[in-house]
Each structure stands twice: as structure tokens, then as C-alpha cells.
Symmetry: none
Subunit: 224 residues, 2 copies
């Protein structure tokens, strides 16, 4: 019997998942969480085999909730679901330690299959995302030794950034162009581009605009 916790801020979405899951003999829904904080609390209490995690939730989002659940070292696996098929979420989600990543418009059978796969220790990625993920990650693969080191405490989605990268992100958030950053920080523009590229990859931002928004949302940059 596989136990599941549903974490989604939309009651109707939860209802749909619950109905689907409870129609299966081998699946049990242990509970429902409406935000990331609840998901963490209920996971610690109920120890589900799988957490069905929505990304966009009020307060603590699904990425950070995933990161913290995985960090406990518990057996619980996280299967991330989102309405968007944007790969930036996949990057961040998988980096946070999720065991899978599916899009919500998947066929019910896909979802059920995904849950069972994840529960048994495997990982699943929506076929639509697989190609892009491979392309993006193939160069980073040699470092994948599996010893997931716990990210430094403090910020949420910024934890993977180095000190320098956080500096760069700050000025990106102020609206500086690559040329301006290079000039004012006494760097070559190619260096700036390298930094920016890594920042986008690590934070799962599609472009510098998403990075600006991230800088504001994380209060790395304050409104003036």
C-alpha cells in the first residue's frame, strides 16, 4: 500500500487528485496540505511514501518545501506537479531533490504511473521535459555523485548561489545591463555573461527578467 500526501493550494485540484487516487486499491491519501509549510509539517507527522507537490503555493512554495522535506533524510519522495511545462521549474524542482516532475495536464494514467514509480524509488520526468532536461544537464553530469549536500541555510531559492553570483544577481535586480555590470564591476562582459548564465540555471530562471522578479521576491533587492 502506497501512502500519499496531497499538497496543493487549490481545493478543487486536491479534490480531483484525491478522487483519482482513492479509486485505486493500492493508494491511500493520508491528507491534504494547502501550502508548503503545511506540507512539511504533515510530512513530518504522517511520513507518506509520496508527496504530490504543487509548485505555486502561497507562503512557502513547493520548491522550498521539497528542499526541506528531502533534507530531513526521511524516506518520503516528492513528486512535483505544475500547470506549467516550463523547464525552469524542473531545474529548480529537481535540484531541490524531487523524485519526479509531471505536468498537471497529464493523463490520469500517467500520474498514477508516476506515483507508483516514485514510491518504488524510481524517478519520473514528463516526456515533454526529458529532452530539454538532458540537454541542459548533460554537461553537469560528472559532478553527480549522489551525495546531496545540504544547501546553506538562509535564503530560499538563492541557496545554491555563490557569494559572487549573489552580488551579480543584486545588480541584475537593479536593472543593470551586462555592459554596465562589466564596467562598474571591472569585469569582461564575457565573464558577466558566464555569471548570469549560471545564475539563471541555478535559480531556474528563464531569463534575466525572471531573475529580477526573483531578486524582488526574495528581498535581495528592495523596492525604492
Amino acid at each position: 500500500m502506497t501512502t500519499v500526501l496531497i499538497a496543493d493550494d487549490q481545493p478543487l485540484q486536491r479534490l480531483g487528485f484525491r478522487m483519482l487516487l482513492e479509486s485505486q486499491d493500492d493508494l491511500t491519501v493520508l491528507g491534504e496540505a494547502a501550502n508548503g509549510a503545511e506540507a512539511i509539517r504533515m510530512t513530518a507527522e504522517l511520513h507518506p511514501d509520496v508527496v504530490l507537490m504543487d509548485i505555486r503555493m502561497p507562503g512557502l512554495d513547493g520548491i522550498e518545501a521539497t528542499r526541506r522535506i528531502v533534507a530531513t533524510g526521511d524516506r518520503t519522495r516528492v513528486l512535483i506537479l505544475t500547470t506549467f511545462d516550463l523547464d525552469e521549474y524542473a531545474y529548480a524542482g529537481l535540484r531541490a531533490g524531487a523524485s519526479g516532475f509531471l505536468v498537471k495536464d497529464a493523463q490520469p494514467e500517467e500520474l498514477l504511473l508516476g506515483i507508483r514509480s516514485v514510491a518504488s524509488g524510481d524517478a519520473v520526468v514528463a516526456p515533454r521535459l526529458t529532452r530539454r532536461l538532458l540537454d541542459a544537464y548533460v554537461q553537469h553530469l560528472p559532478t553527480g555523485d549522489g551525495t546531496a549536500e545540504v544547501p546553506p541555510p538562509g535564503d530560499a531559492r538563492l541557496s545554491a548561489l555563490t557569494e559572487r553570483e549573489r552580488e551579480i544577481l543584486t545588480v541584475i535586480g537593479k536593472g543593470w545591463t551586462n555592459t554596465e555590470i562589466a564596467a562598474r564591476l571591472h569585469l569582461a562582459e564575457s565573464t558577466v555573461k558566464t555569471h548570469v548564465g549560471r545564475i539563471l540555471a541555478k535559480t531556474g530562471s528563464r531569463d534575466r527578467i525572471q531573475a529580477v522578479i526573483l531578486a524582488y521576491d526574495t528581498k535581495l533587492v528592495e523596492p525604492s
Copy 2:
């Protein structure tokens, strides 16, 4: 007995709706449509009392489907649902002749209430949207008392913008690309570019990144 047609491209979402609706004695689900064209065809055939219409669907979207269904003069009412609480959808949807507009993260009770209200000829708008709709439309109303002109909301830097331009700036602030804006607001990309260009000129922003920052600074967009 109230008959309902569900139009949504996501199977799981449809399942959630169907389960909820069929748990009610006075509601019957006549069928499910996965896109706008199907919704129109099935409505013409089945004459449901209410169409539960998702906005974002492949091919013919919910707005246009609503427009055509309403244009038939049939008794069928359209209740629009979306995952977004963005008012631009409300504008378009209500202009297209929808009888209601709810967000998907509504409580099930809200949805049921909305369906019954719409079926009985009333109209419903999610409370969260009502204020903004009023704010946006009050200036289009015949200025009854002739007193205070409604001042443009927020910062002085936004005062030169038209209503539409403020809408566009809002979604720019959310990080949407021109392509996404065009798709989600049902515009040509060239139109979006025209709008964006005028916004940048009027606000004195050198690029959309400055515009994003402006949107945050003026609280046109709030950090999430």
C-alpha cells in the same frame, strides 16, 4: 434540475469538476469538452443550462467559445473559470457575454453556488475580482455626479499610461514575454510590441527590465 457542460482541456480538472457536480442532487453533467470548438458543438447539441468554461484551451479558447455560444441567443449561460485571477481575463470574458467569472482556487461551495446562480439567470464574479473590476470600470461609467475624476492609481510615473497599457505593464512585471502576452491576451505579437514600446517611452524606461522594476516600485505588481 440544472444541466452542466464541462469545458476544460485538463482531464484531471474535468474529473474534479465532475465529481463535485455529480455529488449534488440538483446538478447533472451532460458532457465534457476538451477545447472551445468541442464546447460550441456540444452546447448546440445538448443545450446545457450552464457551461463551465476554462479560458486556456488549445485551439479555440474559452473567450471566443463564450462569444459564439452567447451569440446563438440560446438560453445557455457561460460561467468562466480560470487558474488566473488576472482581471484582463475578466474584461474579455465578461465582454464576451459570460454570466460569471470565478477563479479555480475557489471553495467547492463557491463554485456550486456560482453554478446555481448563473443557471437562475444571475451573474457572479469572484469577490477577489470585484474590487478591481469596479475600479477599472468606474471611469467608463457615465460620470453620474460629475464630482471627483478618478485619479489614475498609484505612482505619477504611471499616470500617462492608458488603461490597456497599465494592464500590459502588469503582466510585463510578472515576467511574461511578448509571445506569452500575445497568446494569453489574444493579441498579435506586433500589437504587444507596439504597446510595450509606448509603455517604455511614456515611463522613460530603457527596456522591459526597467519596466519590471517600475511595476514593483509602484506596487503595480506585488512580490509573491
